[in-house]
């Protein structure tokens, strides 16, 4: 039954994304999902020590990709049928989005899969827990400098970014899958899937502003992109968390902002679409610490650190420590009791520019959004971009969405 509701919207997405003709979830569609070849992203999750769901239960949350392969998709942190715990979450249930009727369930890892087939000499596969969905219906887009009393553009937005905030991956790797759906009252509409190149590979921007060279990216030939990944690092963080008596730790620096810059471009350089949402995560379960094993420091561990009279002070560390044999110890970074688990996130929708006034609505681009043309090719991804020009000569910025939500729940913990 779970498979059916998950697969049904998926079949719709198949119809929209690759021109399938069957818009109805039928027994044969469900059968297709059961027999579909698995994508590399499918079946890669396995339960940790406190997760009570089996991989089989997890794998029921699947959907067909435009390529006919089986992909993982959104599921709640707790299995609704058995009550078992997955230990991770994928953000907001997309079934409430006004766009989901057209998009269907979101296949996690489709752009990564297409990258394998594109013949670009790159492979990039991401873990399962990092796929995070956010959406909002009927948000108001602000015309720059405007009051909104006369012009008011409203949009439905549905976004998925692979944004893992528990491992060293994003310290060096700038390629992350982004699924971006937006439909606005000014006829701006995009349904885009790509590998977003967020800043330069091998480096990131410290939460304090400096650029930190963190190693070699995977793949090593990852292309650079606009924007950056602003991540907390030890040199910036420790002096703000470990503070003297009478001071409060500044946990606000324990914050990641992945500032993307994405475009769909033709081979001759014409930019058909541009959008630059920022993805922010509060209290992730990691920070960059070159002195630590794997260069990954754990914020929750700072709750038990004392340097002379300096230590973490503030409510964020409440309940995070205990005394064992006279020593102060923190809960494990992957303990569900830790508040440093990356379950609070927000997206700044920002700009959504379309320059496709006389163009077709269907384009095929490579997984990076480049070389867009009107016919499919190996490794291409079908992109929908409405036939409008929405450059009004001023910035038209979307709002923040998701900032008031907390996706934590029973058993949710790092890695998340």
């Amino acid at each position: 039954m779970r498979t059916q509701w998950v697969s049904s919207p998926l079949i719709l997405s198949c119809a929209i994304a690759v021109g399938c003709t069957d818009n109805n979830p039928t027994a044969s569609n469900v059968g297709t999902l059961a027999t579909a070849a698995p994508a590399k992203a499918f079946g890669i999750w396995s339960p940790g020590r406190t997760d009570t769901c089996t991989p089989d239960v997890h794998n029921q949350f699947a959907t067909l990709g435009p390529d006919g392969k089986k992909y993982p998709t959104w599921h709640p942190p707790t299995d609704p049928s058995t009550g078992c715990l997955f230990g991770h979450e994928h953000g907001r249930d997309p079934r409430g989005s006004a766009l989901v009727a057209g998009t269907g369930a979101l296949p996690f890892g489709y752009a990564n899969e297409q990258l394998d087939a594109a013949g670009l000499g790159l492979q990039r596969h991401e873990d399962h827990v990092g796929h995070k969905i956010e959406w909002e219906n009927d948000v108001r887009i602000q015309v720059a400098g405007g009051t909104g009393v006369a012009i008011e553009v409203r949009c439905d937005v549905l976004v998925k970014l692979h944004q893992g905030t528990h491992s060293k991956d994003a310290f060096t790797n700038n390629l992350h899958e982004l699924i971006y759906h937006i439909r606005c009252s000014d006829k701006t509409e995009m349904h885009v899937t790509l590998m977003s190149a967020i800043g330069r590979p091998g480096e990131f921007v410290s939460a304090c502003g400096s650029t930190i060279q963190a190693g070699t990216a995977t793949p090593a030939n990852s292309p650079s992109g606009g924007g950056h990944r602003r991540l907390p690092d030890a040199s910036c963080l420790l002096s703000r968390i470990l503070v003297g008596p009478g001071q409060q730790s500044d946990f606000g620096h324990l914050h990641e902002s992945w500032e993307t810059s994405n475009e769909i471009k033709t081979a001759d350089g014409h930019r058909i679409a541009f959008f630059d949402p920022y993805f922010q995560v509060f209290r992730p379960s990691r920070y960059y610490d070159p002195a630590a094993a794997g260069a990954v420091g754990r914020p929750v561990a700072l709750c038990a650190v004392t340097l002379n009279d300096r230590r973490a002070r503030g409510s964020a560390c409440n309940g995070m420590t205990s005394t064992v044999s006279g020593a102060l110890v923190s809960v494990a970074y992957d303990d569900a009791a830790s508040v440093f688990n990356g379950v609070r996130r927000q997206i700044d929708v920002n700009n959504n520019l379309v320059s496709n006034g006389d163009g077709p609505t269907v384009w095929y681009s490579d997984p990076f959004g480049r070389n867009a043309r009107t016919t499919p090719f190996a490794g291409s991804i079908r992109q929908f971009i409405s036939s409008v020009n929405n450059d009004y000569g001023v910035g038209v910025n979307g709002p923040v969405v998701g900032g008031n939500r907390n996706y934590g729940g029973a058993g949710v913990r790092a890695p998340n």
């Binding site: 015309v143 405007g146 006369a150 000014d186």
Partner: protein, 220 residues
């Protein structure tokens, strides 16, 4: 009876009714001999208008008003607001009961901040009185209406064919005529375009303006 009703319905549009005009517009000016003499040589539009004016009389009015305007489109804020307007009309009298001319109006709403909205329209109008003695008229027009939205750093403007309909009455006080009226204009299908790029933010803009006006009118 049915025929009378039909006439009443059509009168605002074509101005064909029977009766006598009010005194201010009831005495056509005598035909000018010089214009009549030169009518065969002065074939320009200006000469024709002058001749019509001399033979039939001219009509002008200048008024102020207050009214509500709304621009309805998928990207338009839904607020209908009230503001003041100006209007002017210039025309000629075709008959004691029928006036034709051109009318223009502007409606300005300063909404605060950097936002304001301006509605403008220019119409060819025909005004008909129910009878020669009647002070009450209906006026219909066809023309172009525009609506301009200034919001922040960009201005959006739409312009499209428009219809107008006005009802009012003439109050003769000594040598002047005061004309209170209520009028509406409407248009559909406008493209609301940025002044900076020419790109349209909406292709379905519908404009509506409802105004109460008071004008000073002159009939000669």
């Amino acid at each position: 009876m049915r025929r009378v009703h039909c006439l009443l319905l059509v009168a605002p549009l074509v101005g064909v009714t029977v009766g006598f005009p009010v005194r201010a517009r009831a005495q056509p000016a005598p035909a000018s001999g010089s214009v009549a003499t030169n009518s065969t040589t002065e074939l320009t539009m200006r000469a024709a208008v002058r001749r019509l004016a001399d033979e039939h009389g001219v009509w002008a009015s200048l008024g102020v008003g207050r009214g509500a305007a709304s621009l309805d489109c998928d990207a338009c804020a839904s607020a209908t607001t009230r503001a003041y307007s100006l209007q002017g009309t210039l025309g000629i009298r075709l008959s004691p009961r029928v006036l034709v001319g051109a009318e223009t109006f502007a409606w300005l709403d300063v909404m605060g901040g950097q936002a304001d909205r301006v509605a403008k329209g220019t119409y060819l109008v025909a005004r008909g009185y129910r009878s020669v003695a009647s002070k009450v008229f209906l006026q219909a027009g066809a023309g172009i209406a525009s609506f301009e939205v200034n919001d922040g750093e960009v201005r959006f403007r739409t312009s499209s064919p428009s219809l107008s309909l006005t009802g009012g009455t003439d109050w003769r006080i000594d040598q002047i005529t005061i004309t209170p009226a209520i009028g509406a204009v409407g248009s559909i299908g406008g493209h609301l375009k940025s002044n900076k790029t020419g790109n349209s933010i909406a292709d379905d803009a519908r404009l509506g303006v409802l105004r109460a006006t008071i004008s000073l009118s002159w009939f000669r």
